[in-house]
Amino acid sequence: MTPLQIPVEKWAGKVTEVKLGGNGRKDITIGGENTLPFLHFEGTFPHQPALAIEIQDMEPDWPADLLLSWGDAVKDPGQWARKAAEYGADIVALRLRSAHPEVENSGAEKAKRTVASVLEAVDLPLIVLGPEVAEKDNEVLLAVSEIGRGQRLALGNCTDKNYRAIAASCLANEHVAIAKAPTDVNLSKQLNMLLHEAGLPMSSVLTDPTTGALGYGLEYTYSVVERLRLSCLSGDEMTSTPIICTVGEESWKQKESRSSQDIPESWGAQERRAIIWESITSAILATAGADIVVLRHPRSVELIKEMNGKWLSMT
């Protein structure tokens, strides 16, 4: 028998490196890998997949178990961010939920104040997410962009509806845009092309492919992330941006994570199920190619850290 040859793919492309933070703030670089996730025998992973912990600018409407793990910190974004840092976040992801028209419809001033207080409280890189209503996202993100100048904040979300203003302000103030398209390889690619035409280099863009949680569309996101990564590795720069998945948000929305009453016995213990729901969603998307996962529960962060550590040390 001829000795067996392990098949190694010669990929033409690699994930673009994107730096967050810096300019007096801790920085982190993501991307750079030149093979599919977890494949040691084929390529290199210059940077670990990053863990972001989500905090909000107002007390969140989260399930009790999840709230319990943060205690009083949820009352103050600065304090919450510090606690996130203690729990091992690489990045803090601040959601400006109060700016949603159906929540408080808060505006630029509050957004600036909150972001300033979080930047003051921790020296970690910061992601700032608007309420996901295109006009409001524009309003708050443009305001935020000015105060964090040069610190390479990641600002989301940028969609085909509002990308121009956000791209321009990311360019002017040295930030990174998070480009979000609805679970579709071509739409993500098109959005990157629009950002590119608007002058933003791919090293200032992260792709949010839209996350479906375990049991609620995960398989669609899984395949879109895999396809984006394969397209990138085959040499397409317009799909080479690192991928960010808002895992905690989607996972904790589902009944399996929220409900503790009137549920079948076969669902098992509530807390264990909710945490594993979030961490499986996270682990699976990382296996498909996610470079940043945004999580909510400290125990999920711990589990995913352990997983990444074992993977990278090959144990």
């Binding site: 067996l4 398989e219 395949s223 098992g268 264990r272 199920r273 499986i280 699976i284 296996t287 090959m314």
Partner: protein, 450 residues
């Protein structure tokens, strides 16, 4: 192979013995995998061998168990979007013979009767791996007996000792357990047992895929056909590496000795049940055939079964239910009418909530081609016009007398347009999440409508 290529090897006599009008028609069916090459009795032995070899799936389908079965393998792609993944990996629970027989029996019964409902399906685990951890034949046989008495699920027999294995097979062979495993030290004896007892055989060689292929080849030469490989995928550090190498070798390189499903042990280096579950999750996606779990907690098993279902869903076929009006909890004509889409997940989320809250209701399902509420709305398949059309098509007036329709909270924006489309109807905006439907109906239905 294409139909034309297959045709070249056929007798071209159009004798119809295969049940097809012509050799070419038969060749086309074989190419589409809708007919077996063995249906043609006129093939020369050389052509038959060649065609059978060429049409063999790159990863063999292996089945374990008799009445209840694990069927694994026969995968054809590396990525699910390229086509689909076909055979879900078996999830089995390991029971060690160092456990007390009482505990073992209790756990075996618990696992065997475990089942959880999701999207109208009953999801269950698939069997047990019985582990001769003690090294003592008597304890192992006691455990095997306990299993035989308490479950009809497939078994994996784990002992390195061929004499012990033989005794265990005497008790279980009629149920086709998986023999775990042939190693470089005992492969001849284990392979002989597999042949004598007609059972599938696992082949363990954790040094390298090359060594694994060599050992498997020897076992194949002895005549064993149903094989499970054990490359040693037991940690985050090596699992995706090894299983990707095997899958690529089998599918892209047609490496026959590695063209079998693999067994994995995510618990071997785990720090706890969660850590084990995350590796098992990864192995469900990347590329295990049988996964041996050391822990059984419903709160962990349920998400794993859900994941397995997700990853093995055919990406080309949306999973959907038929459009129409569904009665839930035996409704009358003054009971609520709600509307949603035909995406199976959406339907079962909503129907399940209505059912468990006990409120009698009618559920109107629109044909959206199997899309979720917002996806269908964004695609223009769940808007005011489509909903009004569906309501008319299924004659909602024959079912209810109150002219009120509850729409999902996520599409509140269509309320006005729908009121125009359905003149005389009151459109009520329900909650966003299905889990709040019960409370919504209990609190607001009567006052809104009566």
């Amino acid at each position: 192979m294409t139909g034309i290529e297959i045709y070249k090897y056929l007798p071209k006599t159009n004798c119809k013995k295969c049940g097809f009008p012509t050799c070419l028609a038969f060749a086309m069916k074989v190419a589409q995998k809708q007919a077996e090459i063995s249906l043609c009795p006129e093939l020369s032995p050389e052509s038959r061998q060649f065609l059978e070899e060429a049409s063999r799936p790159p990863i063999k389908l292996v089945s374990i168990g008799r009445d209840k079965k694990i069927e694994t393998g026969n995968e054809t792609v590396l990525f699910r979007h390229e086509k689909t993944f076909y055979h879900q990996p078996g999830l089995v629970i390991r029971i060690k013979d160092t456990e007390s027989p009482g505990d073992a029996a209790r756990r075996i019964r618990e696992v065997s009767s475990y089942s959880v409902q999701r999207v109208g399906l009953d999801l269950t685990l698939d069997g047990f791996a019985l582990d001769n951890e003690s090294g003592n034949p008597a304890s192992f046989l006691r455990l095997v007996e306990t299993a035989v008495n308490n479950t009809d699920m497939p078994l994996v027999l784990m002992s390195p000792d061929t004499a012990t294995m033989k005794l265990a097979l005497d008790k279980t062979a009629q149920n086709r357990p998986l023999i775990y495993s042939a190693t470089r030290d005992n492969w001849q004896d284990m392979a002989q047992l597999a042949l004598d007892y007609h059972c599938p055989l696992a082949v363990s060689e954790r040094e390298s895929p090359g060594n694994l292929a060599e050992l498997t080849e020897r076992v194949i030469q002895m005549g064993v056909e149903d094989i499970i490989t054990d490359p040693g995928a037991d940690s985050f550090g090596n699992s995706v590496d090894l299983l990707t190498q095997l899958r690529r070798l089998a599918i892209n390189k047609r490496c026959r000795p590695l063209g079998y499903p693999s067994i994995t042990f995510p618990g071997d280096h785990a720090s706890g049940p969660e850590d084990e579950a995350l590796l098992a999750a990864q192995q469900i996606a990347k590329y295990a055939g049988i996964i041996v779990l050391d822990h059984f907690y419903p709160g962990i098993v349920y998400p794993l079964l859900t994941l397995r279902l997700n990853i093995y869903t055919d990406p080309q076929k949306p999973v959907k239910v038929a459009a129409g009006i569904y009665p839930i909890n035996d409704p009358g004509n003054s009971d609520p009418l709600l509307v949603t889409t035909d995406f199976s997940l959406t339907y079962f989320s909503v129907a399940g909530e209505i059912q468990s809250c006990g409120f009698p209701s009618w559920l109107l399902i629109c044909d959206t081609g199997g899309l979720s509420v917002l996806t269908a709305w964004a695609a223009g398949k769940f808007n005011a016009r489509e909903i009004a059309k569906t309501a008319k098509q299924f004659g909602v007036n024959d079912y209810v007398n109150h002219n009120a329709l509850v729409i999902p909270g996520y599409v509140a924006v269509i309320k006005g347009a729908l009121e125009e489309e359905m003149a005389g109807w009151k459109i009520l905006v329900g909650p966003r999440e299905a889990m709040d439907i019960g409370n919504y109906l209990k609190r607001t239905w009567r006052e809104n409508v009566l």
